[in-house]
């Protein structure tokens, strides 16, 4: 029984972080039909802001808030620098500009900070363990579950009940029609990037809280995770991104529990095989999402 609870906590905490990452990627993809390859750098930026503030003596929550704010600002900057100038021109152009922006940010971190890992400040709570339902688990796992739950609920509320959320959902199905109702294209896109930054910023706290340090290339793995989770869940659907995140965490954690020690280093190979099997069965991903729709 305790193993089951332990397993559930592991899946939910890893899945919560994965779901936030995936949702942040898909909110932009849904509207623009373009993958933001500079997405991982939002996670990196939040980490470096935390590192740079580590000597400041500010309360951790203030530093965390600044980190998330930096991720949001970088998200919006991605729109202005990498997407907006070439958005209407071609998909290839945006692909290249978003890669370029990603490289630019990584190199800035290399140049201005260091290629070596830098420790990020974390509250003591992140390194303590607690007993929960008879299971001893790191407190950060429960924090992750709670944070993911709060953020996902907030996201759901915004998308369902606010006019900007409605406008984003409408723009994701049919951007031109949304504009013909007076929804300003740039506002919707910038909002999507800002939400993407918020999700990435919080995911960064939770993710880097596990690692404890930040390096310039730290964003690659979250980008990959987010990408796989969204492909798995369905690139077009917000619910799919969340589902994909939790499913990927379930597969990862399941393999961690089941694989013998000497096969564990090949875990990702097993994970990807599973993903391929799922995609053979459902090439569109698990949730298909709304049909059709033009870009810009």
């Amino acid at each position: 029984m305790t193993t089951v609870i332990q397993f559930l906590i592991d899946v939910l905490s890893l899945g919560g972080a994965y779901a936030l990452m995936a949702l942040g990627l898909v909110i932009v993809y849904g509207i623009l039909r373009l993958v933001n390859f500079a997405y991982g750098e939002l996670i990196m930026i939040a980490g470096y802001v935390l590192y740079l503030m580590s000597g400041s003596g500010l309360p951790w929550l203030v530093m965390a808030f600044m980190g998330v704010l930096a991720a949001i600002a970088t998200g919006i900057a991605t729109d202005y620098i990498a997407f907006r100038p070439v958005r209407a021109k071609s998909v290839t152009a945006v692909l290249i500009t978003s890669f370029a922006f990603s490289t630019l940010l990584q190199n800035a971190a290399l140049l201005l900070v260091s290629p070596r890992p830098r420790p990020i400040p974390l509250p003591d709570l992140f390194s303590t363990t607690v007993e929960f339902l008879g299971v001893v688990t790191p407190a950060r796992n429960l924090i992750t579950i709670l944070a993911a739950f709060i953020l996902l609920s907030l996201f759901l509320f915004v998308m369902r009940y606010t006019i900007i959320g409605l406008a984003m959902r409408a723009a994701a199905t049919n951007f031109r029609m949304a504009r013909m109702l007076g929804v300003p294209a740039n506002l919707v896109i910038s909002s999507a990037f800002a939400i993407s930054g918020l999700l990435a910023g919080v995911a960064s706290l939770l993710w880097l809280g596990r690692i404890g340090s930040v390096v310039p290339g730290v964003g690659l793995e979250p980008l990959l995770i987010a990408f796989i989770a969204t492909v798995l869940g369905g690139m077009r659907s917000l619910e799919g991104a969340v589902l994909g995140g939790f499913l990927l965490a379930f597969i990862d954690t399941g393999l961690n529990y089941l694989l013998p020690q000497d096969l564990l280093k090949f875990r990702d190979a097993f994970t990807f095989s599973f993903v391929i099997l799922v995609l053979l069965w459902r090439p569109q991903g698990l949730i298909k999402g709304p049909a059709s729709g033009d870009r810009t």
Partner: protein, 237 residues
């Protein structure tokens, strides 16, 4: 109210609209007729700002609005219902209507009363307001996109082929409704394949042929012409 001056619309090197000129008076209902590919939809999309204007000018309420974005046109008071009948299928009927009022976020009471008024006009929509718009029938979806456009309280409404693919009895209801919208004071520019129906509700008519205006006049005069079909196809001039 709406004035189109020497409008040209191009798709690459192909001109779809080759310099047309017409105007619609305030409160009037004008119809653009013509065969497939005559340039009717391109004209409407260009007026709504959804297609670039290659040449010419569009005046709205006396102001030059050429080259404005679609969202700016809605803000200025011009709403369009495209022929693709684009409901947002995953959003409920009510959410679709809320989006229609996107430009009137501050006017909460006005929006609420317009919603009630439109529900009175389209009772089917009220019955189905919590339903996903994608589950409505074709006729209901057409009602929804028109109602949604009206939520912006536009001064001018552009309707592109509203009767396309609808059952005859639904087409009758639809035209009754269009007449009702006109009676409420909305200026309407209607593109239709169903010329007979369109000419019954319109004040004036313009017949487009291959991107040019072949003939124009009062709707009743155009309707009385024996050679209407020939005009469409280019034989009768």
């Amino acid at each position: 109210m709406l004035e189109v001056i020497d409008l040209e619309v191009r798709y690459g090197s192909i001109a779809a609209v080759k310099g047309i000129r017409f105007s619609v008076a305030p409160g009037a209902l004008a119809t653009l007729l013509g065969a497939n590919g005559a340039g009717k939809s391109s004209t409407l999309l260009a007026i709504a700002g959804a297609l670039p204007v290659a040449k010419g000018k569009i005046l709205f309420d006396g102001v030059d609005v050429t080259g404005k974005k679609p969202e700016q046109m809605v803000q200025a008071g011009l709403a369009m219902v495209p022929e693709t009948r684009d409901v947002f299928p995953d959003l409920t009927v009510d959410e679709n209507l809320r989006l229609g009022a996107y430009t009137r976020l501050r006017d909460k009471s006005g929006v609420a009363s317009d919603r009630e008024r439109l529900f009175a006009l389209f009772p089917r929509l009220q019955e189905r307001k919590e339903q996903a718009a994608g589950t409505l029938s074709g006729g209901e979806q057409q009602m929804l996109v028109i109602a949604r456009a009206m939520m912006a309280r536009p001064k001018v409404l552009l309707l592109d082929e509203p009767s396309l693919g609808l059952a005859p009895v639904v087409v009758d209801q639809l035209f009754a409704m269009i007449a009702e919208l006109k009676a409420l004071g909305t200026t309407i520019l209607l593109v239709e394949q169903n010329a007979t129906k369109a000419l019954q509700v319109a004040d004036s008519a313009f017949v487009l042929r291959q991107g040019k205006i072949a003939t124009e006049g009062r709707a009743s005069d155009i309707a009385a012409r024996q050679d209407l079909n020939a005009l469409y196809l280019g034989g009768g001039m």
